[in-house]
Point group: C2
Chain length 503, copies 2
């Protein structure tokens, strides 16, 4: 009996490796499409991606997979399996059940709708006309509501969606933490607006040649500990990090010659994602466990690097001179002025351009609207009005066009509901990690000394290495000794911005 189970275990892991191989090929094609694949080859490349994705989907829902799950999930059998196999099986089972619960026909219709909705959204955004997109969005919401009933609910229907991205997080939790964020950030934003000590920022927009920005980005990545033997940096319209395999975690960035912040903070943000995936335990390679455990934990790593490291005074105390070597036009700007300038906070309409203080409010708006959609408190047709009201209430500004309001993000067009909260959760996780880290490491000192590797090592020890073998809220609790607590983020923001704006 024992040898038989071991044989099944081996075959199962081999089966999973095959799925991972297809995924690796798909990821490379995706990366290639975004880093310069020639225009005329795109349609055919998309077909190939479609075919391989279908292979993966079929394998994840096959009778063979069902048989592995049946054979290996009995309790007496589980004890004989390696822990990697057990966790892998659990992931596969979760995916199997999620996919199997939706009738095949319905899922196919949804996929077709998704792809249609994305192109309609593009057009609607270009024309800044929500009414074009509205019927598609309504259908997407309706489909998703049905999916939620198939999957089953646990309290609020939105919980089922949250679980897709952030297992364990619920509406009750989010209502609590998001109201606290709002309660503290909204008045702070208001005070800043009225402050008479606004930073001077004009010098940020002096021309900074792309080649120089690129060279500085490479230099910074090396300082941050990004392993170029296990990755590469390329240029894309929208920056991203992507893992092809455990020895190949790539990042991309975007260069704006009139605003170097785009590339520098973008690169550092993606580097945070990449450091996570470069430091997952090699034991998990070739399984679905070699991945970030949730969108929120992933974002906690990118935001840690982007905000807590790269917007920190001590970091620039160390690296401002390096920047000046690549950007001599900063040689007449003092470190203090530079620091204040890159930390300017000003309400803006577009989420991805928001500063670190106002950013969470953009998420709160989206969360409140998604939640209300899924408990039928509001309807799709009401979204633009509600959106604009909320921006006015929380940020003090009001979109004049749908394109810079309700139509700005692609997420809904892709049928992703429940994803947005991860961004703000990641930010709170990061602040909570930082609070714990500071008890164990001389954080400021390490930044000033350029000992960034020690910070990365701490994150690897507490977060990275586990990949998907631990759930997000479990990691948070194990590392920090408590559940999600927004006070660390609030304290960080209040202290920093009261200082900068002399409030």
């Amino acid at each position: 009996m024992k040898t038989n189970i071991q044989e099944v275990e081996k075959q199962f892991l081999q089966y999973v490796r095959k799925m991972m191989a297809y995924k690796e090929a798909i990821s490379l094609m995706y990366w290639d499409l975004r880093t310069g694949a020639p225009r005329k080859g795109i349609d055919q490349r998309s077909e190939v991606i479609g075919m391989l994705s279908q292979d993966v989907f079929r394998m994840s829902t096959s009778e063979q997979m069902a048989a592995y799950i049946a054979e290996l999930s009995a309790k007496s059998v589980q004890e004989q399996l390696s822990s990697v196999t057990r966790y892998t099986l659990a992931e596969c089972q979760k995916e199997y059940e999620r996919n199997k619960k939706i009738p095949a026909d319905e899922y196919k219709q949804f996929v077709i709708l998704q792809s249609k909705a994305e192109s309609v959204w593009e057009e609607a955004k270009a024309k800044s006309d929500f009414s074009l997109f509205e019927p598609y969005l309504k259908q997407l919401v309706d489909f998703t509501k049905r999916f939620v009933t198939y999957w089953g609910t646990n309290g609020h229907p939105y919980n089922t969606l949250l679980d897709l991205y952030e297992p364990g997080v619920t509406v009750d939790l989010l209502d609590d933490v998001f109201s606290k964020l709002r309660h503290h950030i909204v008045p702070l934003v208001q005070q800043i607006r009225e402050s008479r000590h606004k930073p001077e920022t004009s010098f940020l927009f002096q021309p900074f040649p792309k080649e120089k920005q690129k060279a500085f980005s490479f230099a910074l990545l090396k300082e941050l500990g990004y392993d170029f033997d296990a990755g590469r940096l390329d240029e894309t319209v929208h920056p991203f990090a992507i893992t092809l395999n455990d020895g190949d975690v790539r990042i991309t960035t975007k260069y704006d010659e009139n605003d170097f912040r785009t590339a520098i903070f973008g690169t550092i943000h993606e580097c945070g994602h990449a450091l996570y995936e470069q430091h997952i335990s090699k034991e998990l390679a070739g399984t679905p466990l070699y991945d970030g455990t949730s969108m929120g934990i992933h974002e906690s790593q990118s935001l840690f690097y982007e905000n807590f490291i790269a917007r920190h005074y001590s970091f620039w105390k160390r690296y401002y001179r390096l920047l000046q070597q690549y950007a001599p036009h900063f040689s007449h700007v003092s470190l203090d002025d530079f620091y204040r300038a890159i930390n300017e906070s000003k309400p803006s309409l577009i989420r991805i351009e928001a500063d670190e203080l106002t950013y969470p409010l953009h998420i709160v708006v989206r969360y409140e609207m998604e939640k209300a959609l899924f408990d039928d408190a509001i309807e799709v047709k009401d979204l633009p009005y509600i959106w604009n009201e909320k921006y006015e209430a929380y940020l003090g500004i009001r979109p004049e066009r749908d394109a810079e309001g309700i139509l700005q993000d692609v997420h809904w067009a892709g049928g992703s509901f429940g994803y947005f909260p991860s961004y703000a959760l990641g930010y709170m996780y990061a602040a909570q990690f930082k609070h714990t880290m500071e008890k164990e490491l001389p954080f400021h000192q390490l930044l000033e000394n350029g000992e960034l590797v020690r910070i990365r090592e701490w994150l690897t020890k507490h977060v990275h290495q586990f990949g998907k073998t631990k759930k997000p809220l479990d990691i948070l609790h194990e590392v920090t000794g408590e559940g999600l607590n927004p006070i660390y983020l609030i304290d960080y923001l209040e202290e920093k911005y009261k200082h900068i704006y002399r409030l």
Copy 2:
């Protein structure tokens, strides 16, 4: 009955598209490995390539494929199929039979040997010691001899190998044309050696910054008609052209700051390959017919561009000024001196560095040795001695080390026998095409006017468009009205080099 066949035809083409999709993914991974994939991801990437290659192999030899062949190859059925389906079926059948005739176990052993032999060859080359490689080469030859008996012979056993790369070409044909080449080129090389009018070449080796060479390469490619919307140019250690799909045909090149010829002639050579594949009829996309018809015809296109266009006086009459914009150090070198310098001919030991006159002799040496190996006239252990003797006899130089003699090429280590003749065949095809083209087009004038597109259009009309639907010797006959005739290449070389060296 009719509708049933159409349904089978549709399914068959869909099945083939699936195989082509895997091949496209494999090609992209191959391209990526050579253009900067990070070192630590290579092993896993190679595994993925292996898995997908296995998928393709399985599909090409599956019972399903056998069923398609059986159902669609009956004569009464063939008449109902589109011509694309008929040719595709023929290709699939050829591959099916070739693969099925080798016992699976034996093929697996061969693949393992291949991969082992390549790494041993690398080591042997680094140590310049043929004896390390000898036992592996012997096994590769023995395997291949057995494969030849499985596949069946037609006259000389080497014919079976030639058929893999150049269908229709035989030992009888090659004996005839290669002896003619030798007969004319060997004395010409000798006369050149004794000429007192050797070109001055030192100015070729002045520093030419990589970025400038790159910019010139892009400019030249545009002039040659390479479509950057259906391709891209990257940098690799060994230049190559690769087709991912009908809208994505990429090339790579190599930059040597002390010898710009590497990049320029290399880029133009690969451009010749790429123009072929960018201009195959779109009707053939998604089938194995969207490919060059043979290695030789492929090489005819690359050599046409590299030698007949880019080493032509009229070409530089047009483009020397453009080069000087990127390389101001040539501004004091006259066009005539430049032309003579880039056409210097001098026997050398390494095939891939040979000039256009001595190049065919490198191929003749390899052909004579391969042929003798496969009719048991010589043994593997005798190869280094015979190699050196032949280099002395034909080129007047003798390798002192195995690394610059018998061990220089990777082909044999990869188990490729019968491939080398394609290089010289391609050269002869090209010269024969050119002879016909000159009756229809004012060749020199087009070069001088920079009307290179008209040359490309002629090649598309006569060669490119057909992809794999016509056999190499059929194309040659249809275009030029005669069988393979080496006189056109011989005339070209004699006229050009007698003029340059004032013989």
